[in-house]
């Protein structure tokens, strides 16, 4: 089970490795959009865990259109790329998007545009629960 994690603070998601290992998961940790794109050249991951706000410190999200948000937020830009790859490969990838921002409009966008799940960084327990259940679903 291949899990691609995109985060520019890799130390803050190192716990994912420990968490998924007993569940049969293997983590590939990348820091940039380009690295994430090249990781997909080996095939799309089973689960993608993506930090929305890589690439810039704080671009306001309020009122952003999808195209706009995808240009400014590297995490979303990668999701656009992943969506194209998934269509071509006809495979499915479970998507978890997380952010330090706890915003309903961002969560809606993730669900609507990418059929993904949204979690805030501050809600670790829910994040772990979701990741665990997706892994178990995928392996069963």
């Amino acid at each position: 089970m291949r899990i691609l994690v995109l985060d520019d603070e890799p130390w803050s998601v190192s716990w994912i490795r420990d968490f998924v290992k007993p569940l049969g998961g293997e983590v590939e940790l990348v820091e940039t959009f380009d690295q994430a794109v090249s990781a997909c050249k080996n095939g799309v991951p089973d689960i993608a865990v993506i930090d929305v706000m890589i690439g810039q410190s704080s671009v306001p999200f309020q009122g952003a259109t999808l195209a706009n948000a995808e240009e400014q937020w590297q995490g979303l830009k990668f999701l656009r790329h992943l969506r194209v790859e998934l269509r071509a490969s006809k495979k499915t990838t479970e998507i978890i998007v997380y952010s330090v921002l706890d915003r309903g409009d961002l969560a809606d966008l993730v669900v609507r545009a990418y059929q993904g799940h949204f979690r805030t960084k501050g809600d670790v327990s829910q994040f772990r629960k979701l990741l665990g259940s997706l892994l178990r679903e995928k392996t069963s």
Binding site: W11, S14, F19, S57, S58, V100, K121, V124
Partner: protein, 279 residues
């Protein structure tokens, strides 16, 4: 006496207004008022950006601590692995506490509460100032490793140096700030080098990093409050341009200093922290 809060960009003393003003004084007063309005706007932006950054930087280590603890508690790790992770957890907590301390320092600098001249300094061997930090903050070494950055500490060069006048909490904060910046901005595959050097009545710690290019014209401005160079603004890591400013205030409060010498080739920068040698 009521505490007087000053805004982040208003550290200069504002003179009390007199009863009578001449035309030129009035003009100055109007210009000053306009400039204060503009400052307020910058201020509120800076305040908000700072709060946003602090919140982000606190959440990141704390959520990592929580996740590691839940992994350990729920039995995802062996005893040996748990011990290793707990060591990391301690490091993350130290970072969070240091960050909270930085907020405290900032508060003291912008309010009238902190009189840095009254800070307790003690005479300690120079080698202990840096090595004490390294021992306690091994997480930075892990963060460097995650990004392929090496850290080379020349302990021998520090052992031979005289004792210094040191304010421990402040020195830790200043060194942490340089490590923070290195963890954020250093190029993968580069090396952070640290060495000590003796000067006339002073002791210096040099930090060489290969990161973002600092133009010669910005080498002093990076210590201004709220200043972030164009090169840094385009990089991924968050920042508000307060860390180096706070560092300089703290070092000067113990009769030391901190400055930057940009290297000849792009991005090879040397930061120097200066302590007063003990007599």
């Amino acid at each position: 006496m009521a505490k007087q809060r000053r805004s982040l960009t208003k550290l200069a003393n504002v003179p009390a207004a007199g009863n009578k003003t001449s035309a030129s004084e009035e003009h100055i007063s109007q210009v000053s008022s306009l400039s204060q309005d503009a400052e307020s706007e910058i201020d509120s932006g800076l305040d908000v950006a700072f709060l946003d950054n602090v919140a982000h930087q606190l959440i990141a280590p704390l959520q990592t601590v929580q996740a590691h603890c839940e992994n350990i508690y729920e039995g995802y790790l062996s005893d040996e692995e748990s011990k290793k992770r707990l060591k990391e957890v301690i490091g993350h907590l130290r970072m969070a506490i240091q960050l909270a301390q930085r907020v405290r320092f900032l508060y003291e600098l912008v309010s009238d509460e902190g009189d840095h001249k009254q800070r307790p300094t003690e005479v300690v061997p120079f080698s202990s100032v840096v090595t004490q930090f390294i021992d306690g903050y091994n997480n930075y070494l892990l963060m460097f490793r995650e990004r392929g950055v090496q850290c080379d500490i020349d302990a021998d060069s520090m052992n031979e140096l005289p004792s210094v006048k040191n304010w421990s909490l402040a020195s830790q904060q200043v060194i942490m700030n340089l490590f923070d910046n290195a963890a954020k901005y250093c190029r993968g595959g580069s090396t952070v080098r640290i060495a000590g050097k003796k000067g006339r009545g002073i002791v210096q710690a040099h930090f060489w990093t290969r990161s973002t290019e600092i133009p010669e014209s910005d080498k002093e401005r990076i210590f201004d409050k709220g200043f972030r160079s164009a090169a840094v603004r385009t990089r991924a890591a968050a920042g508000t341009g307060l860390g180096l400013w706070i560092s300089r205030q703290l070092m000067r409060a113990m009769d030391g200093d901190i400055f930057c010498t940009p290297g000849k080739s792009g991005g090879d920068n040397r930061f120097t922290i200066v302590w007063k040698a003990a007599k």
